[in-house]
Each structure stands twice: as structure tokens, then as C-alpha cells.
């Protein structure tokens, strides 16, 4: 697919637009429909488009799996941290009124922060899920190759499987 110039050019235009729209949905959620969750999904779709058009490896290069996993956790922590902040400022957990001197301003800040947390987690989870599902066959093939090497190198066909995944793929291997 990455040879098709039309798709390449169109997606180069589309990807930033989708991201911009994602940001709009994220921050306009106070005034119209939208919010962290919807924005997260939209934002993620930009990354998915990038990965589909320019290849999985390039896609993974943009947002590395390790960093992605950290973003997933970070979003939840931002949300929870906002709650804890309310608690430290002598309010209850998730009390936004105490965040700033003016309760309504505090509510605004609180909502902004938690929506950001939701958006961050959702966007990274969606990208993460996509890679986890889409890379599965390639990953499997890799494991199969390793198993074949293992089987060749040792005469024992019952070599201890090293990982949970490998034990499964080994069964498939033996079947063949």
C-alpha cells in the first residue's frame, strides 16, 4: 500500500487534520459534545492511519511501545493525581472546588486535568491495542522461526518452552 502516491499524499494531509480535530474535541468538550474519551479515540486513529499507510514498523517508530505503555499508566495517574490534589488541599478526593481560590475556576481546572488524563490513556490504549492485535501474526512467525531453530539445534523435540506464548506456538509447530 505504501507505493500508492495518492494514499500517501492524502494521508499526509489527513493525519495532522485528524490530530487537530482530536485536540478540538478534547478541549471543546466543555461547550459541545466531546471530551477526553472521544478525543482519545480520534487522536489514536491518526496514529493508526500512519501505521497502516506507512507500515507497522514506521508506526511503532513514531510512538514506541515502551513509551506508549508509560503513557497509558500516566493518564490514569494524572486523573488520580488530580483527585489526590483535592485531598491534599483539605477537600475530599476529587474535590475540584479547592483546587483554586475560586470554586468555579477550580472546577474548570479539575475538569481540564481529568479530561486530559482520560484522553491520554484512551489514545495510548487504542494505539497499543491496535499494535497488539495487528502485530500478532508477525510476532507469531518470529516465534515459530525461533522454535524451528530450537528444534534443529537440540535433538530433543521436547525442549522446555521458554514463554507462555512459545508453548502455544510450539504445539502448532509439532502439529505440522
Amino acid at each position: 500500500m505504501h507505493d500508492d502516491p495518492v494514499i500517501r499524499v492524502v494521508s499526509k494531509v489527513l493525519i495532522p487534520t485528524i490530530m487537530l480535530f482530536g485536540l478540538y474535541v478534547q478541549f471543546h468538550g466543555d461547550y459541545g459534545p466531546g471530551g477526553g474519551f472521544q478525543a482519545g479515540v480520534i487522536f489514536a486513529s491518526a496514529f493508526l492511519l500512519n501505521a497502516i499507510v506507512f507500515g507497522m514498523n514506521k508506526g511503532r517508530h513514531v510512538w514506541s511501545p515502551a513509551f506508549n505503555l508509560q503513557c497509558i499508566a500516566l493518564g490514569v495517574l494524572v486523573y488520580g493525581g488530580t483527585g489526590i490534589a483535592g485531598l491534599l488541599l483539605d477537600g475530599n478526593f476529587l474535590d475540584f472546588n479547592v483546587l483554586l481560590a475560586n470554586p468555579v475556576a477550580g472546577q474548570h481546572l479539575g475538569i481540564l486535568l481529568v479530561e486530559f488524563g482520560v484522553g491520554l490513556t484512551v489514545a495510548s490504549v487504542m494505539v497499543g491495542l491496535f499494535f497488539a492485535f495487528a502485530s500478532r501474526p508477525a510476532h507469531n512467525r518470529l516465534m515459530h522461526q525461533e522454535d524451528t531453530r530450537l528444534l534443529k539445534s537440540s535433538t530433543e523435540a521436547t525442549a522446555e518452552p521458554t514463554t507462555t506464548g512459545a508453548s502455544v506456538s510450539k504445539k502448532g509447530e509439532v502439529k505440522k
Binding site: 461547550y31 474519551f37 500478532r136 502455544v168
Partner: protein, 131 residues
């Protein structure tokens, strides 16, 4: 049952019918993907039940405007269902991940074939146990 009420409440009646289509698919179908699809239909229909109860005569979307006479539909069911949709997709993702692993281990996603494989294994174990 009073038929006239059912006709007046036809909206709920159809939602219930949809729910049961989904529910039947989950419990009756043996294909695991079909089960997940049934679950999706079942849950979406439950969302519709909630949204139905939030609707009010002549209401509009619950986004405040300057017009004080405006009637808004109840936002609470909307919030609950937003949460429920997210929970639903989370379950779906885990379900599909399990289906992929089941396919790799059992080479099928038909429930009866999996059960057959399981029974064979259990039988073999029982025989091994007796010896």
C-alpha cells in the same frame, strides 16, 4: 399483559426485542466471534434502554444555552452510558484477544470443537491417573 400499554411504549418494546436478539446470540451460538457480536448487540440495546428513559418531551441535547425556556433531556443516563460503552469496548478487546489465543491453541473457535478437545484431554488425564 395490557396491549395498549405495549403499543404506547413501543419504543421500549423494540429495545427489549433487540436486547433479546443479542442475548440469544450470546448464549446459543457456538462461534466465539459470533458470541462477541451478540454481546455487542445485547449491550448496545441496553444502552438504548437507558437513553430512552432520559428522553423528555420536546427536549434538546443537555448543553446549556442562553434560552431559559429550553427543556433539556436528562444528562445522567447519558453519562452512565458513556461509561458503559467504554466498559463494553474494554471487555470486547479482552474477549477478542482471548479468541486469538484460543485459535492458536485449539485451531478452532467453534465451541463444540473446543469442548470436544477438552473432553479428550480430560479423558486422557483420567486414564493416566488410574495407572
Amino acid at each position: 399483559m395490557n396491549l395498549s400499554i405495549l403499543i404506547a411504549q413501543w419504543n421500549y418494546v423494540i429495545v427489549i426485542a433487540l436486547m433479546m436478539i443479542g442475548f440469544y446470540t450470546v448464549i446459543a451460538r457456538g462461534n466465539l466471534i459470533k458470541k462477541m457480536v451478540g454481546l455487542n448487540i445485547f449491550q448496545t440495546s441496553v444502552f438504548m434502554l437507558y437513553i430512552s428513559m432520559g428522553k423528555i418531551q420536546d427536549g434538546t441535547a443537555p448543553i446549556l444555552s442562553d434560552d431559559p425556556t429550553m427543556i433539556y433531556s436528562n444528562p445522567l443516563p447519558h453519562v452512565l452510558i458513556l461509561t458503559a460503552i467504554v466498559v463494553g469496548v474494554a471487555t470486547t478487546a479482552v474477549g477478542y484477544a482471548l479468541i486469538i489465543r484460543i485459535q492458536e491453541s485449539f485451531d478452532t473457535i467453534e465451541e463444540d470443537e473446543i469442548t470436544e478437545a477438552l473432553n479428550e484431554e480430560a479423558l486422557a488425564e483420567r486414564l493416566a491417573e488410574q495407572h
